[in-house]
Structure formats: structure tokens, C-alpha cells
């Protein structure tokens, strides 16, 4: 089985409008697949069809190498969080999880406590969900999706409405699930910059049509993603970088350096500069090029 999930000319039509138009997705086991597209592009509809919540007008999808009724038996191996988390506000987090456990026949002892721990909600006790923050609800939504120990997790806009810290927490949780449990993730978002922090593969969708599928490396090579380093002493900073083995960089102005390699090593660079008494005034991964690439592909900024 080459792909865990493939869609075959998946189409969903509402009246005359094709919300999803002959989409062919390819998701391998272990991928973090980012489905990117602006609002109304058809992301949620695709995810709903794959999650078994909506029927396609035409086309189908195969799951674990099986399609049609054969795929239906694998639906219990999918965990979903579509749009906002579906939760009972007058119940606690544990009670909401208990409901899903009962429905799925999950009887493993301590599973609820374990799931709450994974998403960082262990200390919520009997607190009702109506008193939860949006980020907490979102994390509970992820816990609900994890109840049946899924092989594939489908998350629709999981960072919507979250503050930067909330976003970082969600990404960290999902990254761990992918690395430690080997769960394949399909995550939709309309913010490529955010998705690029975690996704290994991308599907770019626009007006219901899948424009492109590409790997992280392919995307980065087309977008020249970079670290933007602001420092008080660019000269000494360059020496430090070269001592670290970083050669692909460019001094842009008196206090700015663009680094085009080892993009995930921002922390290490900062520490090394500090050890060499070079003050870091700012360090960020700049993705304007990513967004530009996406905008160009989907018809420019006028469409956003």
C-alpha cells in the first residue's frame, strides 16, 4: 500500500456550484499533510467527505488501500475535528471523552486521563466546558479525535481563533502525535505560514480544484524560506555563523542577516551568538515568500 489515503476525482456539487471539483489527493502513512486554501476553497467539504460526514456527488476515496464499502470498515481508524469542536458545554472534559469512549466501545482503563494529559487538560477536573477558553476547547477536540487510537487524524482549521501561544501548543501536540505515535495527519488551514511550521506535504486547493501537491522540500525550494536575524554586530555574527557551519546566508543591511539553511535551528543560532557575546535583537523565520507563492498560485492577493 503506497498511500494511506487517496481520492479519486472527488467531486461535491451543491446545485450548480461545485464545492469540490475532481480532487485527487495522495497521503502517505506518517505524512503531515497540509491542505491549504482560502476560505470557501472546499477544504472542509473534502475533509467531511473523507471523514464520512458527507457523501461525494461523484468520485470516491480509498483508505488503507480499500475503496467504497471496503473503506467503510476503516472509518473507525480515523479521528476527526471538523470546524469547531463538537462538545457538550454543560459537561466536563472527562465526561465528553467518556461519551465518545462509550460510543466507540473503548474500555481501556485510564484512557480518558491519558488523553487529557496528551492535550494538556489534566487539571481541568469537573470544570464545565462552557468555562473553557477557545484553545482549551480546541485541544479537547483533538483529544476527542484521538479516542479510538486513530491511524489518521483529520483536523479542519485546528488553530482558528487561537492566540500565538495556543497555536504553538496545538502544533507541539500534533507534532508529538506524529513522531511518537506515527499518526498520519491531514490539517487544513488558510494560513500557509502557520501550516509550514508542521506540514511535510501540501495540497493547495482553490475554488474546489486541487492546484498542486508538493512536499515541504519542494515548496521551500520554490519559496526560499529564510531566517531573518537582527543583530547589533553583523560582522561578528557572520563569524559565529560560519563557525557553526552555516554558509548560505546574506547580509542585507547593517543589522540584518538572512540565513537560508538550517531553518529549524533558530534557537541554536541564538544560543551560539549569545555565547560569543553577540546580541540578538530578533530572529524569525520569514515566510512572505511562501504566502506570495500561494497567492500567485491562487490568483493573487486580489482573491484573498
Amino acid at each position: 500500500m503506497e498511500y494511506l489515503l487517496t481520492t479519486n476525482s472527488l467531486t461535491k456539487q451543491y446545485g450548480r456550484h461545485k464545492a469540490v471539483n475532481a480532487v485527487n489527493l495522495h497521503v502517505r502513512q506518517g505524512d503531515i499533510y497540509g491542505l491549504i486554501g482560502r476560505n470557501g476553497a472546499g477544504k472542509t467539504t473534502i475533509l467531511k467527505i473523507i471523514s464520512g460526514l458527507a457523501a461525494p456527488t461523484s468520485g470516491d476515496f480509498s483508505l488503507f488501500g480499500e475503496s467504497g464499502k471496503g473503506a467503510a470498515i476503516y472509518m473507525s481508524r480515523i479521528g476527526t475535528l471538523i470546524e469547531t469542536p463538537g462538545i457538550y458545554p454543560n459537561m466536563s472534559a472527562a465526561e465528553n471523552l467518556k461519551l465518545k469512549c462509550l460510543a466507540m466501545g473503548v474500555r481501556k482503563k485510564g484512557v480518558i486521563e491519558e488523553l487529557l494529559k496528551i492535550v494538556g487538560l489534566s487539571d481541568t477536573g469537573k470544570k464545565k466546558l462552557k468555562n473553557f477558553s477557545l484553545g482549551m476547547k480546541q485541544r479537547l477536540g483533538i483529544a476527542l479525535a484521538l479516542v479510538n487510537d486513530p491511524d489518521l487524524l483529520i483536523l479542519d482549521e485546528p488553530i482558528n481563533g487561537l492566540d500565538p501561544q495556543g497555536i504553538a501548543e496545538v502544533w507541539e501536540t500534533l507534532f508529538k502525535l506524529n513522531k511518537e505515535r506515527g499518526i498520519t495527519l491531514i490539517i487544513s488551514s488558510h494560513i500557509l505560514e502557520e501550516l509550514s511550521k508542521i506540514a511535510t506535504h501540501y495540497g493547495i486547493i482553490h475554488d474546489g480544484v486541487l492546484l498542486q501537491e508538493l512536499t515541504r522540500e519542494e515548496l521551500l525550494s520554490r519559496c526560499s524560506e529564510r531566517i531573518e536575524l537582527k543583530t547589533s554586530d553583523t560582522r561578528r555574527a557572520c563569524t559565529v555563523l560560519e563557525n557553526m557551519g552555516i554558509t548560505d546566508y546574506k547580509v542585507v543591511d547593517a543589522d540584518t542577516i538572512h540565513i537560508f539553511e538550517r531553518l529549524n535551528d533558530g534557537g541554536e543560532i541564538t544560543m551560539e551568538l549569545a555565547e560569543n557575546h553577540v546580541k540578538t535583537m530578533g530572529i524569525t523565520v520569514k515566510n512572505e515568500a511562501l504566502e506570495d507563492y500561494y497567492l500567485n498560485l491562487t490568483g493573487g492577493a486580489a482573491n484573498v
Binding site: K48, G52, M75, Y88, K98, K100, A103, L144, N148
Partner: protein, 286 residues
């Protein structure tokens, strides 16, 4: 399927609405029997009122709009049978009001807060979600009927003492059994309307309007049309509606009326469940 039923039972037991409705069932039972006692006292003090009540009982073949119970003038001095009181109170539609409210709230909750999205995709046959809800409704309606009957009986005992007696147990059980099926039929109808409209407000309003008899003019119109087409049929649509049968299937009802009520109640449960399952299976989950 069994797992889904367990889920819905757990939800029912942990829902505020379940306990609120049961509390109101207790209060309503006390209120209803107290009002009947008030009627009995009024009849004792005012013989004119006895005549009015008797006329109401004699002319009770045609239903009126609204919810009301009629006290039997014989209860002023004579003994009062438990079955008569329960039959009168339940046939009035008082308990049905609460059944309708609970069914609409319970069924719509899962769709309203989106919890259905967490589970619907996991089951190739989504119709199962309807069956588990029906099972939960069946238990809750039974619980409400038992609580209502028990509290009404205890209130009667407190108010009338030795004058209040059990009477025929089999007739009482027969009446309660038929009424249970009819109330469950109504709950199934609300289940269907809620799933179809995705709105608790719609199903609740339709149910409550039917319960208080606002559909009687519509029934009369249908009866008239049928009479105009075929006078010999002697057709009365109330005999085939849930609200009509609830008001007719009292403890003193003829066996054929009770059998018809059982058939109508059962038919509504089956038909509404099948239709709800079809809607749930065929329609996308929002």
C-alpha cells in the same frame, strides 16, 4: 449499536434537562391532582358546578382546544379510583407536554453543539444514531410516566385518604401501557421532526400545538372533506392521530379503542424511526 445506546444513556443521566423535566413531572403531578381536588371541593360547595362538570363529561366526545381535566361528580362523596385519576390526568396531555419538550431538547442537543460530528463518520450506518436516541427516549418516557403515576397516586392518597383506592390493577396497567406507547409514539414523532428540520424550536412548537389541540380545526376540516366525498365512511381522523388517541384511551375506554391506540402508537414509533433513520443516513452531517 449497544455502545451507542450506552452513550445516549450516559448523556441522558448527565443532562440537566433530564432532571429538570423529571422535577417538573413531580410538580405537575402534584399540581394536577391538587387542581382536581379543588374541582371536587368546588362541586361540593356549589351544586351548579356539579351539573356543569356532568355536562362536560357527557359532551366529551368532541375535544376542545386547551389542556384541562374533568372531575367526576361522583368523586364528591364517593370513592375515587387511582386508575380514574391517573387516566384523567394523563389523557389531558399534561405529561405529553413534558415528553415533547424533553424529546426536542435531547435529540437536538447532539446536532446543535456538533457532537454528532465526532461519532457519525465512524459508523457506516448512521441510522443507528437514531435507534440509540429512541432507546433513551423510551426509558425517559417510561420513567416520566412511572414518576407521574406514583406522585399523583401519593398526592391523591394524601388528599383523599381512605376514599382513594387502587381498584382494578389490570385495567390500570392496561391504560398506562397504552398511554406509554402513545407518548412514545409522540416522542418518536418529535425525534423525526427534530432530525428533519434540525431545529428543536420547530419540532417543539409543532408538538405543543398538536398537544393542546390546535390541530382540531384541521382534523374537523379533513373529516368534513372525507364526509363530503363518502358520507357512509363515518370517518374521524382523531382515531388515527396520537393526540386524539391519548385523549380517548382512558381507563374506561372500549377494548377496540385501546387496540386501535396500541396500533396507532406502534405505527408512529416504527414509521417515525424508519423515516428518521433514512434522513440521518442519506443527509450530510453539518
Amino acid at each position: 449499536m449497544f455502545n451507542l445506546i450506552k452513550m445516549d444513556f450516559y448523556r441522558m443521566m448527565h443532562s440537566v434537562s433530564t432532571w429538570v423535566i423529571l422535577t417538573f413531572t413531580v410538580l405537575l403531578a402534584v399540581f394536577a391532582v391538587s387542581m382536581t381536588d379543588s374541582d371536587i371541593q368546588s362541586m361540593a360547595e356549589n351544586p351548579q358546578y356539579i351539573q356543569e362538570q356532568q355536562e362536560e363529561i357527557d359532551g366529551n366526545e368532541d375535544r376542545s382546544i386547551g389542556i384541562y381535566t374533568t372531575a367526576d361528580p361522583e368523586w364528591v362523596d364517593g370513592k375515587i379510583e387511582v386508575g380514574d385519576i391517573l387516566s384523567t390526568e394523563i389523557s389531558s396531555g399534561l405529561l405529553l407536554l413534558l415528553c415533547i419538550i424533553f424529546a426536542a431538547i435531547f435529540v437536538s442537543a447532539e446536532q446543535k453543539n456538533g457532537y454528532v460530528k465526532n461519532i457519525a463518520g465512524q459508523f457506516p450506518n448512521r441510522g443507528m444514531l437514531v435507534l440509540s436516541k429512541l432507546a433513551a427516549l423510551a426509558v425517559q418516557v417510561l420513567l416520566m410516566l412511572v414518576v407521574f403515576a406514583a406522585v399523583a397516586a401519593l398526592t391523591g392518597l394524601a388528599l383523599w385518604g381512605d376514599r382513594f383506592y387502587l381498584g382494578s390493577e389490570s385495567s390500570l396497567l392496561q391504560c398506562l401501557g397504552v398511554q406509554y406507547l402513545l407518548h412514545l409514539g409522540f416522542a418518536a414523532l418529535i425525534l423525526f421532526l427534530t432530525i428533519l428540520s434540525r431545529s428543536s424550536a420547530f419540532s417543539m412548537v409543532v408538538g405543543l400545538l398538536a398537544c393542546v389541540g390546535t390541530l382540531i380545526p384541521v382534523y374537523s376540516l379533513i373529516n368534513k372533506i372525507v364526509y363530503d366525498i363518502r358520507p357512509s365512511w363515518n370517518f374521524d381522523i382523531s382515531k388515527y392521530t396520537l393526540d386524539g388517541n391519548i385523549s380517548m384511551a382512558g381507563i374506561g375506554a372500549a377494548p377496540e379503542a385501546l387496540i386501535r391506540a396500541v396500533i396507532v402508537g406502534g405505527a408512529f414509533v416504527v414509521a417515525c424511526t424508519i423515516l428518521s433513520m433514512l434522513v440521518m443516513q442519506k443527509r450530510d452531517v453539518r
